[in-house]
Structures are given as structure tokens and as C-alpha cells.
């Protein structure tokens, strides 16, 4: 086959033309490279004029392939592809050589730079001639959306979509939506009460005609692809018939079994065996906790059943499954709090009056175990002094190297609430103060004025071992006051540990389930850290809120809304193009060895029992090419990255050792050429 290749060398002003002799590269390409019909250099190829040059040549010179040597394909591949397709040249018949990022900007010597540029152009020219036309496949988008997680981010996303008129399935693991925000008392920096701003949104979700809430439920499995995901949800047995229950709460009242509430009250308060995490819970239906229910333990009791006016109790209930089909998925699975017992020198779990940030939220909360009284573990005594410790498990290579982003502000909030409610002296021990959003610095200033004490120094230890007079019976916080350069011991009545935000204990499995990867620290990875923060590598799956990284309420809400907007875009368009860069199996060559089958993390490869060959579902394939490389029979080929194309590029790049004919002096011709 003879292709007519057009080669275009971009000057990028002097960015390339400075260190690289662009005219020479063009001349050389024209004279030495097979298939090159013409080679030009131009000041700015990406400019409309530059694009027109290419388009003119396609029209007048009948180019069948185009090579642009300019910047990184990550910048302008799309530009040149569409320029060509406008002239009827399939976009996948173009190729770029990154002679700016990989040559002109990183090479000292002009001669060497020019030489390297030539080789890269040769590689592109060779490769492009073997490239073939590819057509993206177009699939319809199911307008229904799955939102996983009913915290503030998930709530925001759901309402945005529902209000726009699209149907949403919201799956929440706990008996009620609301997430961590529902546990909080006030929110910084405005100090409006969390419940006051959250509960209306919660009930909106509960009542919204476009939202189907699946609470006390978890996603079992996900299959399918963007536009059409098949999702199986397991609704855990509530032992309450939701259709019959009026949420009157008599069952809770009558239940004789009281247990420590480890979840909503973080171990500080009690609940019944049949319970609703908190009064404003959505949905209103309670849950019977099988683990602690007397009937499930001993086979007798059923007090709730006796008193239920609508016969809504059903001890025979079992887990049920719901199968959904959705076009897009938004994951808002949130965070877990760091286990503060991992740092014994801070005394949590041993010293009664050391509390965590979440526990302190419950203490402040009027609906909490102490009706909002900030008291010591004895439940009555008000602390006269409180120490707040920052960065517990954060900014610490022994636990989490990252900054948890919200602690500095909660410290300020706690300081204000504590001084307001108890008049206690409050000390904050910080490494760096990071109040970095709108009106946050002002809040810091306010607390300084209100007389909160700030000691710059990471706490070394919290102990009850009195050493100096005045320390007896107190908890002593020992730290270096780094602004003075001296060790200090501050005796206090109460200590609050600002535990780190950490990924959910099961984030990794969840990620695998949805085809979302997580970074080393366990947070879900966005498609691009700056320019694509809520999308993921799996088309149609978006992330919002703290499952992507530590963030506060405003940021979580922003991401929830952003994810919803992205989904609306998909739905509005109605169809989605699936990249043609996928792998496919040539049945004739497939030996049915099935090695490729378990290589694919996206389950795109299935084994066809009848034909005894493996088959790749193009819609599921993400085009990584691992299976292509793994196939011992060379039966799998990866579109746009075929062995031949890569070998050709290789030969071009090694033009100076191989020479033009592709044969090398050093070895007999291709030893391992695929059969």
C-alpha cells in the first residue's frame, strides 16, 4: 500500500524553532522518509491558519495520512484530528510527534535536539502509514442515575438531578441518610446549625418524586458500561414492613433493650435494639438490630410487635435484592474517622476525658447524649479547661501523610462553642493554621479576639502522670511551644483529638466494584486533579465529596453539584461515543487458554463456552492493552496500538541505526515478529 503522508513541523514561535532546526527536519523528512508526499514547517500549526494549511493539502495533494510534529498530543491531538476529519480524513489517520515537551524544551544541544526530532518524526511517519480508520461506537444513555451514599455530597447531587427532572436511585448503607453532617452541631465559619440546614434537604430527598431512596442497603455488583450499567442492590432486612410503618416510634419506646450506639452517637450515647439513628431520620422507618434484639437472642420478647398499631414488624423478613439499570453513577461514599487508639501517647481509650472530634460534636449537639452540655465523661462536670490537638493521624508518615483539611477550622469552631457554653479556657495545639477558604481567616481572627489560646507545637504526649504542682487530677498536655522554643505542660480537664479523615475501611473493594482506582492513600482517583476533578477513568462513573479526598461541607456540596452537572450533560446529549481504542480477539487464533480472562479489571473479557474462545465486550474495554500483550497466541489486537504500529514506530525511532529499509545490520530480520 502506498500512503501519501503530509508532515508538518511546528515552530511554536521560538519554543521549538529555537532549539530545533525545524526547516532541516522538514527537508530531511521529505528526502529520506518513505511515503512522505510533502513536509512543511510553520510558525503555529495549532492556529486556524496552520490547520488550514493541512486542510488545503488534504484537498489539493490528496494526503491520506497526516503527521504533526509539535507539542504533546495531550494538548492538541484533538485539534488536528478534528481539522482532518472536517476534510473527510478519518481522525485516527493522524499522528503527533511531541518535539516540544520531549525535545526542544529538554535538550541543551541544538544538533542533538534536531537529530532527536528527526527520529521522532520518522517514528510517527512509519506508524501513521499502518494506522487504520476507526469509528467510535455510539450508545444511548439511560437517563436514570445511581447515587451511592446519602451524605451531604450525595444529597446535593441527587437533588440537582431530581430537580432537573431526572430519576435518581440513592443507595445508603445506614438506616438513614445524612452522613457525618447529621452528627455535627454547628458548621464553620457561619456557625449555623447543621441540622437546620441539612434536615430540609434530607426530607426533600425523602419526598422527592424523582428520587427512589434505598436506605439500609448496599450495592452488590455493577456490570455494563457508560449509558447502561446493571446494578444489583441488597436491601438489608429491616424487620419492618416499610409500606405499613407510619414511623410513629412506639416500637422504639417499648423496646426494653438499650445498647451503646457505636455509629451515630460514636459510642457516647445509647439507643434501643429497634432504633432510628436520630429523630429527623430519613426515611422515618426504624430498624431492628438483629445482633442486639432480645427476640433474636432468646426467642422471646416481641414487645415492638405487640405494640405496633399497624402490624409493621416482621421478624421473618430477609435481605432482598433490587436490580437497576442506570446510565451514570455518582459515588459519594464519604470517609471514616481515624482510630485514635492507634496513638496511645494521646491517651484515647485510657484517659476518660480524652475525646475525639466526632464525640465532641455529639457533646455540643443539643440532640446529643448530653442535650448539648459539654461535660466530662462523668456526664455532669463542666470542664474548666480544654486542650484541642490538631493533626492526630494527619501530616504524619506513620499514619496518614496528607493534611485532613477540616481540622483547623473545627478546632476554631470547637473553641468558640466551648467558650460560649462553658467559659472554659481553650488551648489549640497546631503545627500550621490552615483556614484557607472564604471568611475562614476572619473566623480565626474572631477566635483570637474571643481569647482562645493558640500554641504552635505538635503535642508530644497526653498524660495523667502529674509532675509539677497543680497537675494533680488533671490531664497534662506536653508539647514544645515552638514559637518560644521551650517545652510546656498545660494541665486541662478535657482533651479533644482532631482525628484524621481517612478512606472508608472498604474503599478499595468498593473501588474495584465500580471500576474506580484509588491512590496510595486510598482516596478515589479523579480523571484529572485540576481539570477533571469529579470524573473517573471509568466513563459514566463520577466521584463527589470526601471519598475523593478530605474536604469540608462547602467543597463536598460543590463536587456533588458538579458531578450532577456532568451527568445531566450526558443525559441531555442522549448518546455517548465510546472510544474505538479497544482490544478485540481473532477467534481463529484464540486457543481458548483463558489466560486473558482474569487479567481484565473491567470484566470486559468473557469465555464463550460454545465456541471455546474468549470474547471482548468492546463497550466494557478501556483499551489498556494488557490482554493484548498477554495473549500467547497473539490472537488479541489492540486497536490503534497494534503490534505492527508499535514496531513501525520503533523502527522509525531507530532510523539512524536501522537505515531506511527497516532492516538492521545487527540482527537477522524480526525474530519475534508475530506470526
Amino acid at each position: 500500500m502506498t500512503e501519501k503522508v503530509g508532515v508538518y513541523i511546528c515552530h511554536c514561535g521560538t519554543n521549538i524553532a529555537g532549539p530545533v532546526d525545524v526547516a532541516e527536519v522538514a527537508r530531511w523528512a521529505k528526502e529520506n522518509l518513505k511515503g512522505v508526499a510533502l513536509a512543511r514547517d510553520y510558525r503555529f500549526m495549532c492556529s486556524s491558519l496552520g490547520q488550514e494549511i493541512i486542510q488545503e493539502d488534504i484537498k489539493n495533494e490528496g494526503l491520506t495520512r497526516v503527521v504533526v510534529a509539535a507539542c504533546s498530543p495531550h494538548l492538541h491531538e484533538k485539534t488536528f484530528r478534528s481539522a482532518c476529519s472536517k476534510m473527510g480524513l478519518n481522525p485516527y489517520l493522524t499522528q503527533m510527534a511531541s518535539i516540544r515537551e520531549q525535545v526542544s524544551w529538554v535538550t541543551e544541544d541544538r544538533a542533538a535536539a534536531t537529530e532527536k526530532a528527526k527520529m521522532m518524526v520518522a517514528g510517527a511517519v512509519r506508524r501513521v502509514q499502518l494506522q487504520v480508520e476507526l469509528q467510535p461506537t455510539e450508545v444511548p444513555v439511560n437517563p436514570n442515575t445511581l447515587v451511592v451514599g446519602g451524605g451531604i455530597a450525595g444529597i446535593q447531587a441527587s437533588l440537582e438531578l431530581a430537580d432537573a427532572g431526572y430519576h435518581v436511585f440513592m443507595v445508603e448503607r445506614e438506616p438513614s441518610i445524612g452522613g457525618h453532617m447529621a452528627q455535627f452541631d454547628k458548621t464553620f465559619p457561619t456557625l449555623d446549625c447543621a441540622a437546620c440546614i441539612l434536615t430540609p434537604k434530607m426530607s426533600d430527598v425523602g419526598l422527592h418524586e424523582n428520587i427512589e431512596l434505598l436506605s439500609y442497603a448496599e450495592v452488590e455488583s455493577v456490570s455494563g458500561y457508560v449509558g447502561s450499567f446493571d446494578v444489583r442492590v441488597r436491601k438489608k432486612a429491616r424487620y419492618i414492613i416499610e409500606d405499613a410503618c407510619t414511623g410513629c416510634g412506639i416500637c422504639i419506646e417499648k423496646c426494653p433493650k438499650k445498647v451503646v450506639d457505636e455509629v451515630f452517637e460514636v459510642g457516647l450515647g445509647y439507643r434501643k435494639a429497634v432504633y432510628r439513628p436520630f429523630p429527623q431520620a430519613v426515611p422515618k422507618f426504624p430498624v431492628i438490630d438483629k445482633e442486639t434484639c432480645i427476640y433474636f437472642e432468646r426467642g422471646t420478647c416481641k414487645a415492638c410487635e405487640k405494640f405496633c398499631p399497624t402490624e409493621a414488624i416482621d421478624f421473618e423478613q430477609t435481605d432482598s435484592y433490587v436490580d437497576l439499570n442506570v446510565g451514570n453513577i455518582i459515588m459519594a461514599t464519604g470517609y471514616d474517622l481515624f482510630d485514635c487508639t492507634k496513638i496511645p501517647q494521646y491517651g484515647y481509650g485510657r484517659l476518660a476525658n480524652v475525646f475525639t472530634n466526632l464525640e465532641f460534636e455529639r457533646l455540643c449537639n443539643a440532640a446529643g447524649p448530653t442535650e448539648g452540655r459539654i461535660v466530662l465523661r462523668d456526664g455532669v462536670t463542666e470542664p474548666k479547661s480544654i486542650g484541642i490537638i490538631h493533626c492526630v493521624g494527619s501530616r504524619d508518615k506513620n499514619y496518614h501523610p496528607y493534611c485532613s483539611a477540616v481540622c483547623c477550622m473545627s478546632a476554631l469552631k470547637f473553641g468558640h462553642l466551648a467558650m460560649e457554653k462553658t467559659g472554659a479556657e481553650v488551648y489549640s495545639f497546631y503545627i500550621d493554621m490552615r483556614p484557607l477558604h472564604k471568611n475562614y481567616e476572619e473566623f480565626y481572627d474572631r477566635l483570637l479576639q474571643e481569647g482562645m489560646h493558640f500554641i504552635r507545637g505538635r503535642v508530644a504526649e497526653v498524660t495523667d502522670a502529674a509532675r509539677l504542682p497543680g497537675e494533680e487530677g488533671k490531664i497534662i498536655i506536653q508539647a514544645e511551644d515552638t514559637l518560644i522554643g521551650k517545652q510546656r505542660r498545660i494541665p486541662v480537664d478535657m482533651v479533644v483529638l482532631l482525628g484524621a479523615l481517612q478512606p472508608r475501611f472498604d474503599a478499595k473493594e468498593t473501588g474495584l466494584k465500580f471500576g474506580v482506582s484509588a491512590g496510595l492513600d486510598g482516596w478515589f482517583t479523579e480523571r484529572h486533579p485540576k481539570l477533571d476533578p469529579v470524573a473517573t477513568m471509568t466513563d459514566g462513573v463520577f466521584i463527589a465529596g470526601t471519598c475523593q479526598g478530605p474536604k469540608d461541607i462547602p467543597d463536598s456540596v460543590t463536587q456533588g453539584a458538579a458531578a450532577a452537572a456532568r451527568v445531566q450533560g450526558m443525559i441531555a446529549k442522549g448518546t455517548v461515543l465510546i472510544e474505538p481504542i479497544v482490544a478485540s480477539i481473532e477467534e481463529a487464533r484464540c486457543s481458548g487458554c483463558r489466560i486473558c480472562n482474569n487479567l481484565c479489571p473491567f470484566n470486559a473479557i468473557e469465555y464463550l463456552e460454545d465456541k471455546e474462545v474468549s470474547y471482548i465486550n468492546a463497550a466494557l474495554c478501556k483499551g489498556c492493552g494488557t490482554c493484548v500483550a498477554a495473549c500467547p497466541a497473539q490472537a488479541i489486537s489492540g486497536a490503534h496500538f497494534t503490534n505492527d504500529q508499535i514496531f513501525a514506530e520503533m523502527e522509525g525511532l531507530l532510523y539512524d541505526v536501522i537505515g531506511s529499509n527497516g532492516a538492521t545490520a545487527k540482527s537477522p530480520q524480526p525474530v519475534l515478529e508475530p506470526a
Binding site: 481509650g349 485510657r350 475525639t356 456526664g379
Partner: protein, 321 residues
């Protein structure tokens, strides 16, 4: 169970009671120790302050001698020796140039040490893990009932935990606690269990050292400990021999006997105090030990039901491990 054994200088001098009691209980516990032939000082905390390479070579000689004689596990009862041996083995592996230069030095003495060929362990670790609490409590004939014991680990047995070798927390270890419980003693939750005894400061800046010793004695006293159990010669020396100095310095009247955990094990197994070199401590343990055997009322520990008017908040659960 046979082990290579590195007593270290202290056990031949100030810590003789540690050596004697260890030997005394070893047989009963089924432990056999082969002493490293012609071992030398580990350099304590001093040698490193003058010469780095020489310090590692000094310790390297012991490792080389032990490995050469076919030992696989090397047991050190002294925490400082334990740390130095373990640290050198670890650093020689982790920092290749250091390992190289150390072996170059050893070569001058016709020796070589391949890092990783020895597992360095502390005596406590061997007794707790290889013998085990159950096996030990099974041998108890004279339970330490009613004796209030403050378990004191000091620093170097738990810190730093090179390559996560020990299963103990660097801040809040529990092996010695559980061991003393196994012997029937009443163990106090000693907050300063891993704090410093003053180390060599007794020699360099007595005032500094006395203050550190005072903290430990005062805290143990506040917890009404009858005696303090240790596993490190330096800790024992500072707390025992310098106790009178501390009293003189601060005008206090602490009278807290400091014994080695090996002596406690021996006592519980019914050995005579003399066999365990009890009596060689400066602060006599005699009065404290009179308690042993006398059966005290076991407290009613059954969880009382929560009273209606009880407003107190539940304590957080600490997950084990």
C-alpha cells in the same frame, strides 16, 4: 529451646542479680543459652558519640562471632545491648555503604558479618513468646497475689521498633504487664512505663538524671506500687542505686524496691530469694515481698448494672492489636 546468649558488661557487674536470676529460671522454662565466645562491650550509648564506623564495628564483632559459631537467634537481656545489636544488624542491611565499611573494618580482625543472618531478641520477648504466659502460670507455685507491681519497660526494648520486628507498641507495650499477671501479681497501669530512667545522665548531669528518676518514683508511689519491675540493667541501677541520692536531692522519702522480671518469675516458681540474688538490691525488697502468698480478697469485678440516675458516658472501646 537453645539460643545464642549475649550477657553484656552490666550483667557481669552491676546487674549480676539479673544474670543469676536468668540462669536460675532458664532450666525450669526449658531455655538453654550458649554464651557468645569472647564477646565484647556493645559501646552502650557512648561509643557512637565519638566514632561512627568504629561503634558499628565494635558491635559488628559480636554479631560476627555469634553468626560464625552457627547461632541463629541471639538473646540479649540488657536493653541497651539489645538495641545496639539489633540496630547494627538492621542498619548494615538498610544502609549498604555502612554495611560495607563495617565489614571492611571487621576484615582487619578476620571477621565478616552478613546482615540478616542473626535474629536479635530481648530476653523478655523470648520468655513471653517462646515459653508463653500459660506455660509460665502453670509453673507458678507461689503466686505473687496481693503484690502491687509497676511494670517498667524503659526505652530501648520498645524504641525504635526497627523493621517492625517487635509486636509491642513503642508507647504502650503490654508483655511485661501480662507476664506479671500470669505470675498472679496485681499490675498497675503505669503511665510512665516507657519513660526514660535518666540513662547516662547520672554521670554527666546528675540534676537532670535525678529529676527523671524522681518522676518515675513519684508516679509509681502515686499508684501505690509495692515494687517496680524492670528488664534493663541501666534502669535498675539508676532507680535502685541512686534512689537515696534522689531522696536527698528533693527531700523526698521514696522507698521503692526495683527488681528484675526474671527475679519475679523465680519467686513465683518457688525459688528461694537467695537463688535469685534478691538481697543484692540497694533498696531492700524484703518488706514488699512479705506480702507474697497472703491471699487478698478478690474484688467483685462483675459489671454492676447501670443505675437509672447514672449520667456517665460510656468509655470508648479499644480494639485489641
Amino acid at each position: 529451646m537453645r539460643y545464642g546468649y549475649y550477657p553484656g558488661c552490666s550483667l557481669t557487674n552491676a546487674a549480676r542479680p539479673y544474670e543469676i536470676s536468668t540462669r536460675a529460671i532458664a532450666g525450669e522454662l526449658g531455655l538453654a543459652f550458649d554464651e557468645v565466645e569472647d564477646w565484647n562491650c556493645c559501646g552502650a550509648t557512648e561509643y557512637m558519640s565519638l566514632n561512627k564506623t568504629a561503634a558499628y564495628a565494635l558491635i559488628g564483632r559480636n554479631l560476627a562471632l555469634a553468626a560464625q559459631s552457627g547461632m541463629r537467634e541471639l538473646v540479649a537481656p540488657c536493653s541497651a545491648c539489645y538495641l545496639n545489636l539489633r540496630k547494627t544488624d538492621h542498619y548494615m542491611k538498610k544502609y549498604k555503604p555502612l554495611g560495607k565499611v563495617t565489614n571492611q573494618a571487621l576484615a582487619a580482625g578476620g571477621l565478616h558479618y552478613e546482615p540478616g543472618s542473626l535474629v536479635v531478641r530481648h530476653l523478655l520477648d523470648v520468655i513471653v513468646k517462646d515459653v508463653g504466659y500459660d506455660a509460665i502460670s502453670a509453673k507458678v507455685t507461689r503466686p505473687l497475689t496481693g503484690l502491687r507491681v509497676a511494670p517498667y519497660y524503659g526505652c530501648l526494648i520498645v524504641r525504635p521498633d526497627f523493621n517492625g520486628g517487635s509486636s509491642e507498641d513503642t508507647e504502650y507495650p503490654t508483655h511485661l504487664d501480662h507476664l506479671m499477671e500470669a505470675l498472679g501479681a496485681e499490675v498497675v497501669d503505669f503511665p510512665l512505663k516507657t519513660h526514660c530512667c535518666g540513662g547516662h545522665m547520672t554521670q554527666i548531669s546528675a540534676d537532670t538524671a535525678y529529676e527523671l528518676i524522681r518522676r518515675l518514683l513519684q508516679n509509681a508511689a502515686e499508684y501505690q506500687a509495692d515494687l517496680l519491675v524492670t528488664l534493663c540493667p541501666m534502669c535498675q541501677l539508676n532507680l535502685d542505686a541512686y534512689q537515696s541520692q534522689v531522696n536527698r536531692h528533693f527531700g523526698t522519702d521514696f522507698n521503692l524496691p526495683i527488681l528484675y522480671f526474671t527475679q519475679m518469675i523465680g519467686l513465683a516458681m518457688g525459688l528461694e530469694p537467695k537463688e535469685l540474688a534478691i538481697g543484692q538490691e540497694i533498696v531492700s525488697a524484703a518488706s514488699a515481698l512479705r506480702k507474697i502468698g497472703t491471699v487478698e480478697e478478690i474484688e467483685e469485678t462483675a459489671q454492676a448494672r447501670r443505675k437509672r440516675d447514672d449520667k456517665s458516658l460510656p468509655m470508648p472501646r479499644i480494639r485489641e492489636g
